[in-house]
């Protein structure tokens, strides 16, 4: 396995309402690894993931992904799929329509790919029920599907197993190993140290606005 760095976060700081959530944080991510970040509620895991995804602008520091530094010109990383704690779904639409609307913006995805990725996460593309009727686990699966849709090289998944039952968690672990075998790099966050110990190549703990390797 080659150890090529694809993501570098350097001296990241972010303060919300006088609370310093991230403090001079440095982080590197190597290609084709599964890396996890764990931490307590409010420790800043999700904010850090959002900084990496370009959704939150850091007060200081820089993020470079696949050789491109995020700035005014390149606000969001390319070749990166993201999934956050809220699944990012329109509840009155069907699963397929949700992905269709996002695919329209991406402008690179075919109908067949949408159906394929919905099946990949164990859902049915022709299901006419609105997402409102889905269980939390089904919504999580669909959220992961939208992250996979563009076949990105890097996946950033924020607490992807929340709401999944035991079978669903096993399915997820198999899925990310399969994705790793396909050459993808995966960064996930979780509450549970036990869970990440099962499948991660590296793990970090977020505390005091900084990351510590565990």
């Amino acid at each position: 396995m080659t150890d090529t760095t694809i993501l570098t976060a350097s001296k990241i700081s972010k303060t919300f309402k006088q609370k310093e959530v991230l403090r001079d944080l440095d982080f590197n991510l190597s290609e084709n690894q599964i890396v996890a970040i764990c931490g307590t509620n409010g420790s800043g895991k999700s904010v850090f993931m959002r900084v990496l995804a370009g959704l939150v602008l850091p007060d200081n520091g820089s993020v470079t992904i696949f050789g491109t530094t995020l700035d005014r010109k390149n606000e969001f990383p390319v070749n990166t799929g993201v999934h956050f704690d809220n699944s990012g779904l329109l509840l009155t639409e069907t699963a397929r329509n949700n992905l269709l609307l996002l695919a329209m913006v991406s402008n690179t995805i075919s109908k067949e790919r949408i159906d394929e990725v919905i099946r990949l996460v164990g859902l049915e593309p022709m299901d006419k029920r609105p997402v409102r009727t889905y269980s939390t686990g089904m919504r999580q699966r669909l959220g992961i599907a939208q992250a996979l849709m563009e076949d990105p090289k890097l996946l950033m998944l924020d607490e992807p197993t929340t709401g999944l039952d035991f079978a669903g968690q096993d399915w997820f672990h198999d899925l990310i190993h399969e994705l790793q075998n396909q050459g993808k790099t995966i960064l996930i966050t979780s509450h549970s140290k036990e869970e990440i110990a099962k499948f991660c190549d590296q793990a970090y703990e977020m505390a005091g606005g900084q990351l510590r390797r565990i």
Binding site: S46, V47, R50, A53, G54, L55, V56, L57, R72, E75, F76, V82, F84, D85, N86, S87, G88, L89, L90, L91, T92, E93, N97, N98, L100, L101, L102, A103, M104, V105, S106, N107, T108, I109, S110, K111, P130, R132, R139, Q146
Partner: protein, 596 residues
Amino acid sequence: MMIKPTANFSNTFISELKRATRSRGFIIALLLGMLLLGLGLNYASHYPEEKSFVDQWYLAYNHSFYFQMLPLIACFPFADSLSSDRKQGYLERLAVRQTFKKVMSAKFIANAFAGALAAILPLLLLYAFTTLTNQNPINHPALNTVDGRPYEMQELVHLFQNSPDLFILLVAGVVFFIGALFATLGMASTLLVNHRFVALSLPFLLASLLQYFANRAKLIPWYLAPSEVLLTPNFSPSHAFETTNEMPRLFILPASLLLISLAIIVLFGKRQQVLENSLLPQKKSAHPLDLTKLIPARLQNFPIKESRLQRGSKWGNYFRTQLNIHIRPVQIIVIVVMMAVLSGVMLGWMKLQLPQVFTAEAGNAPPNTWDLYFRTIGDPWAMALVTANLFLFMVSNLQPQTAFGQLSIKRLGARWRSWLAHLGFLLLAAIAYGLLIFIVIHLTGRLLGLPFSTQWSVMRLSFEHINLVGYLVDPPNHALVFATVFGMSTLGFFSMSLLVLLINTLTQRRLIGYFIVEILLISSLPLASIFLNLPPFFQYVPIIRNLVMRFYPFVLRNLDQTYTSIYTWLIWLIVLLPLTWLAYRKQDYLSHPDAD
């Protein structure tokens, strides 16, 4: 182990009262009240110099539109505290030291007292000021004007003429009492929707609606208008209050407000409901009335075109997704129904005011659908409370971005592109909304018996009844008038929606922008009158002046002021466009729940 409550009621009440009267909201309310009365006093200075202190006081009271702003003044000090205390967990700290009933009683009584105090203090200051500075004798005939003195309630007239100090204290006392009721309603309403802006805006919106329907549209009894209960002189020619035995009816509105507040407190203010909610603020309420479940699926979304996949530009497709997400069939149905009802009401009103033009005397130029259009779109109250209100509410959900919106923007690649798409969306929505209501009003008029016509009707001679000005109906050209009226309102809708967008982006809350702009819009109704004697620039500051052609006391608009409102909106845009751009560029997309 349960902690035994140790504090007594009076301690809790005094502590809450101190919080209320030392709050920023209390100071704001006092300043707002004094500012309004100051403007009213300025207005009163244009009345004859012989006016006595009581004339001066009563004129300032009436022309400050205190009756309309009272709900805001009363709710500012403390009405939102129940909501913020629940969210911050302070209520729980109180509830372990005192029985829950006593905590709630202390909060509600302190709030009522603080609201009432904020309402009455500026009036008492005005009383002191006019008494000390005005030594004129009372009852000078020069002030026998309809809007200068009470004239319909004999008891009031008697009191005004014989015991002016008592008259002032009576009116101030009524303001004190009604202020307490509005403050109570504001606080109680947060038991229904736990949001501080509901406390500030709901009583104000309710009072404005009651004022409109009772005093202007006359669709509900006159005694439900806050202005009647607050003892202002009545401007209405068809007012029915002539005999003293109708006086008890003035207690109906206060009693209703009290009963509504009590009902909300009893039904929704139980310990379990209030404290559990505060412990679990993120928990989705199992509300029995889930509208999304009542609306058929086909009315919830327009179909999505699969053919757009892998075609066109990213921005163009993003723009289309915004249309798909934010414009829904059910919204269009709501607009059509509400505008049809509003046009029906306006037509009924036209027939009531000018029955002769709807008879055979109108000859070959009977009222037509254009008349109804100009009447409806040009009515300031209908504009503030229904037409513009509906539009602002419908477009208020662009910001903050939902989780889905954030994923879309990431795929779009730049925040400024999202800003541009939202601008385009709001402009298109404003134009489409203007055209839709144009069509709905014409069709409603046709259904109700008015003909379509390209000619001016007999209403041209009574142009004030179709909310137009004289020079606009002089050349027989509907297109020019339509372009002017449509341009004013459409630019106004667009500009106001940009302000909503800006506030929502900065606060990261959806309804705040809508509430603030709607309050500004409704407040502009009295402000327009208050600003009557200010220089022309200030006269066009109140929003409503730039949405409609005619508005009391601006019954005329000079020829050189035809396009002043359009220039005003352009100034709004020059300010708001860069501000919204900056707000978008610096925006952090934080976690928001999935949205329907």
